[in-house]
Every structure is written in structure tokens, then in C-alpha cells.
């Protein structure tokens, strides 16, 4: 089994890139490993075109291709797999290579159930969120630089965003709001706190649905997977779908006015209270010198 790890240009966090490369090395277990460190345009079509060239079939060789989890990763993995007649697995929570077969687990039904799959395809593509802290001591495998220079697939114009919140990708802290925030102004307060401590701003699916935070900041099963040191969940009930987007190693601090909110059964630190009363005080304290 040859394992190919694709580190796309949009995966900018060094820790996440290294963690995925180490995951590939562990899957290859001393066998054939190819880590493609891609630079250039963050264009899925360009990545797929180049990856398809790199992955031309060799008779009798089975391949596992691993990309980082996330909307672009799942899109690229599916395009590569179907283009080359392989099997896309989706966003896996567990990957293993057992006797030439790829075994995987992934969530279904919005994170409420899990399935175990086995792939016998000559080419299997999966996405995976590597835990940056788990194998940090393992040696970093060699990487092959790939410059993506294909022109964009579509004529594009950038769009100015009205509410520019700090990004969650690679953020050491994430400050996130849910349905209970209730207003866009609540997210302005979260953004103040985030800027004061260098955090990213996240949101649950209902908050995105309500238009309080852009979809690029959605954390959870249908959004981004984040692996910060600390995840501050404000007015988030704690559905499995949302928690599926937070790395198990992240310390969760929850603020909620509902003592029965499921988040309190999953967090490390809990605060029972109304965000409207507490967050302005937190923001003021963080914005003043310590």
C-alpha cells in the first residue's frame, strides 16, 4: 500500500501540516510514503488536476490518499477518487491499513452514528483531521514540494466581506457562539474578546443560519474542524454535530444560561450565566492592561 498525503495550499497552519504528514507516515508504517507539499493558488481544481497526474495508476499498486478534513478537502478527495476510478471515504475519524485493505470510521446522521468501512479499491481517498499534539515527537517525513501553476478553473472576483471576523483555521484559541447569542451584536462582542486574545471566531450551524456569522466560521460536522488549546463556547447547547468539529484535546470552556445544556457534560470548565451580563465584563477586562 502506498500512502500519499496531500498538503494543499489552503492548509496554512504548520502544526496541522506536520501532523497530517506524520499521520501518513504512521499509516505507511515504513512502507511507501509520498508527502506532497503543495504551494501556489488555493484552487481545488488545480490541485485535483496535478494530483491526478501524480497518482497515475501503477498495475498492482494500491494507494491511499489522505487530505486534510474540511469542505475543500472533501471536495478534492471526491474529485480525485472518482476521476481515477477509486473510492472516496469522506471525513474519517479513524484510518488504518490492514493487510492491503483500508479500514476507516466516519460519522453519519449528523454525527449521531458512526460507520466502519473497508475499501478494496485500487485508490482510496480520505480526509482526516490529525491531532497536532498526538504524534509531535515522531520524526517528520520528507516532503516533496509541488507548485500549482494551473490557471483558475473559473473567472473570479474577490468580494469584500462586511464583517471580517478572525479566522478559526490554526487559531490557538477559538471563541464561538451559538443559537443562544440571539443577535449579530453578540458576535461583535465575541470578536472583541477574540481580538484581545488572538483567537478565532467560530459559530454553530444555527448561528450561521441566522446570518450572525459567515459560513466560513462554522464549526462542527458540517463546518470546520478546529484544534485550539482552548475553545470558548458561548450560548452553545453542545449537540454532537457541533462537538464533532472540536479536537478532543481542546480544553472546552462553556458559558450558558441553561444548567441542563448538554455542553456542560462535555466541557472542562463551566460557567452558568447570561452572556449579556458576563461577556461585556470579560471584554473590558481583556482590553485593559493585565
Amino acid at each position: 500500500m502506498q500512502v500519499t498525503v496531500i498538503l494543499p495550499p489552503w492548509l496554512s497552519d504548520r502544526g496541522e501540516r506536520d501532523a497530517l504528514a506524520r499521520t501518513g507516515a504512521a499509516l505507511a508504517a515504513g512502507g511507501q510514503l509520498d508527502v506532497l507539499a503543495c504551494t501556489g493558488a488555493a484552487d481545488v481544481a488545480a490541485l485535483v488536476q496535478r494530483a491526478a497526474q501524480e497518482l497515475q495508476a501503477e498495475a498492482g499498486l494500491r494507494r491511499l490518499v489522505v487530505l486534510p478534513a474540511g469542505p475543500e478537502g472533501e471536495q478534492a478527495a471526491a474529485l480525485i477518487a472518482v476521476r481515477l476510478g477509486g473510492a472516496p471515504l469522506g471525513r474519517c475519524t479513524h484510518l488504518a491499513v490492514e493487510g492491503g485493505i483500508v479500514a476507516a470510521r466516519r460519522a453519519v446522521f449528523g454525527g449521531r452514528a458512526e460507520i466502519e468501512l473497508r475499501s478494496q479499491a485500487a485508490l482510496t481517498c480520505a480526509t482526516f483531521s490529525a491531532d497536532a499534539g498526538a504524534a509531535a515527537s515522531a520524526p517528520l517525513p520528507p516532503m516533496r514540494g509541488i507548485a500549482l501553476d494551473a490557471p483558475p478553473a473559473f473567472e473570479a472576483e474577490p468580494v469584500a466581506e462586511t464583517a471580517a471576523f478572525p479566522r478559526v483555521e490554526g487559531a490557538p484559541l477559538v471563541v464561538s457562539g451559538g443559537r443562544g447569542i440571539g443577535t449579530p451584536e453578540g458576535f461583535d462582542l465575541l470578536a472583541r474578546i477574540a481580538r484581545a486574545v488572538g483567537a478565532g471566531v467560530g459559530g454553530s450551524l444555527p448561528a450561521v443560519d441566522a446570518g450572525w456569522v459567515p459560513v466560513a466560521h462554522q464549526v462542527g460536522q458540517s463546518g470546520k474542524f478546529v484544534s485550539p488549546r482552548l475553545y470558548f463556547a458561548v450560548a452553545i447547547s453542545g449537540t454532537p454535530q457541533h462537538l464533532a468539529g472540536i479536537a478532543p484535546a481542546a480544553r472546552i470552556v462553556a458559558l450558558n444560561s441553561d444548567a441542563d445544556a448538554p455542553i456542560f457534560a462535555r466541557c472542562d470548565v463551566g460557567v452558568l450565566g447570561d452572556w449579556r451580563e458576563i461577556l461585556p465584563l470579560v471584554a473590558a477586562r481583556l482590553e485593559s492592561p493585565p
Partner: protein, 256 residues
């Protein structure tokens, strides 16, 4: 111009999954508590908005669900509704689902230059099916579409890029996966159309069973709850105390 919109439906998350999780139990649960997902709704609303702007647009809805879900979709009065029966297709195999949907598009909406689909296609998908379908159907894929703008020369798609919003000039034929956004929240259907949908004849199209399964399902289980290292530590005291403790926690985390 014809616009095809693919709808799958999900098990309404308000209802807990059966305690004994089996494949049959999940299929039965999904059918009993079928609802449109936010992404199905976004795709349908984008198609309806296109028709609002241009009366020549014909919306063809392909519903990969049971008859009740197809009738619910018919309540929004698409110009045609077909039920796509995926019973012989392993739903956990995104490539098999994509190939079946590509067959359905070829059979039922071949001339449609634009295909709309939610960014996740039902309970078994995590965002893989739309791209797999684009590849199987030989159409360029535009993911995470939020809106479609019309200008004199062409249609432009507002989408969420990996770093920021961007607007793409829509090529001749394309598949768009729609994501949830306040701008594409599904309108309420008119009651008269809901009543008409109950009596409508909705044809069914059956996908061929996948020939060679590349993926085999080994197990289906309840999701394991995330493992936490310790019991929850409560921050007590006055509002001022709690705010101070939270600020201290956040500050400390920046220095860790």
C-alpha cells in the same frame, strides 16, 4: 432554461436515533422522520430564485427520498418533480450514489445546464457526494454557493472560498453545491400548492444497483461521545467573579 435541483432529505435531528442502531432501523427512522436539510433548502431556494427572476427557467426537482418527501418538495411548485429511488445503492458509498445520481440526471434532466445540490447529500454524506457527482456527470463543480447574481453577460455565483468570499463567472454547464446562508433560506410554500402536491402524480425513477462494490460496510454504531479528561470544573461567584475568572482563563491560554 432548465435547472435541476437534487434533494435528499435527512432524519429530523429533533428525534433521537433508535436505541438499537442497525442499518434497517436507520433507514426506517430516516423515512419516518424525513425533513429537508438546511442544505437541501438552500439548493431549492436558489433554484426558485432563478425562476423568480426569469420566467423561462424551469425547475426540475429530483428527490432521492420516499413519496412523502417528494410531495413535500412538490409543495414549492417546481415545474416537475421526480422521485429517485436509490434503494439498491449503498448510501455509505459516495461514488456509487454519485454514479446513480448521474444516471438520474442523464435520464430526467439531461438538458439542464445548471444542477443544484446541497453541500451534504443526506444523512450518509459529509460533503463528498456533490463533488463526486460533478465528476461522474462531467460537470465543473462550484462548491459552497450562497447566491447567484445575474448580469448582462452571464450568471455569477457568490461562494465561500477557502479564505474569503468570491464571485465566479458561471460556466455553461456546472454543478453547484449550496450551503446555508440567510440569503437563501427557503420560503414558505403556499397552502394551495401544498394541497395540490398531495394529489399530484409523482413519477419514480429507479437507479440500477451498483455492480462492483468497492466499499463494504462493516459496522454501524451509535457515535461515541467525545472523551473528556476530567469532570467539569464550575466557576462560581458573582457575575464580576465569573467574568474575571473567564478573562484569566483566556489570558492564561494565550501564554500556554
Amino acid at each position: 432554461m432548465e435547472v435541476a435541483v437534487l434533494i435528499c432529505g435527512v432524519a429530523d435531528p429533533k428525534w433521537p436515533l433508535p436505541q438499537a442502531i442497525t442499518l434497517d432501523a436507520l433507514h426506517a427512522h430516516a423515512s419516518r422522520y424525513a425533513a429537508l436539510s438546511p442544505f437541501d433548502e438552500a439548493a431549492l431556494e436558489l433554484a426558485l430564485k432563478l425562476r423568480d427572476r426569469d420566467a423561462s427557467v424551469r425547475v426540475c426537482a429530483l428527490v432521492a427520498g420516499d413519496d412523502a418527501l417528494a410531495r413535500r418538495v412538490a409543495g414549492w411548485r417546481p415545474d416537475s418533480v421526480h422521485r429517485v429511488d436509490l434503494e439498491g445503492v449503498p448510501r455509505w458509498d459516495a461514488a456509487a450514489v454519485a454514479h446513480a445520481l448521474a444516471q438520474a440526471l442523464d435520464a430526467l434532466a439531461r438538458e439542464a445546464p445548471l444542477v443544484l445540490i446541497g453541500r451534504e447529500f443526506g444523512d450518509w454524506d459529509d460533503g463528498t457526494v456533490p463533488a463526486a457527482l460533478a465528476q461522474a456527470a462531467g460537470r465543473p463543480c462550484v462548491a459552497l454557493a450562497l447566491a447567484i447574481d445575474h448580469r448582462a453577460d452571464a450568471a455569477w455565483v457568490l461562494r465561500q472560498g477557502s479564505a474569503s468570499l468570491e464571485r465566479l463567472r458561471l460556466p455553461g454547464r456546472a454543478l453547484l453545491s449550496a450551503t446555508n446562508d440567510p440569503g437563501n433560506r427557503l420560503r414558505h410554500p403556499l397552502m394551495k400548492n401544498v394541497m395540490l402536491a398531495k394529489k399530484a402524480a409523482i413519477p419514480a425513477w429507479r437507479a440500477e444497483a451498483a455492480a462492483d462494490a468497492l466499499l463494504s460496510l462493516q459496522a454501524v454504531e451509535p457515535a461515541a461521545a467525545p472523551v473528556r479528561r476530567a469532570a467539569c470544573e464550575w466557576l462560581e461567584g458573582s457575575t464580576q467573579d465569573k467574568a474575571q475568572a473567564l478573562a484569566d482563563l483566556l489570558r492564561a491560554a494565550t501564554k500556554a
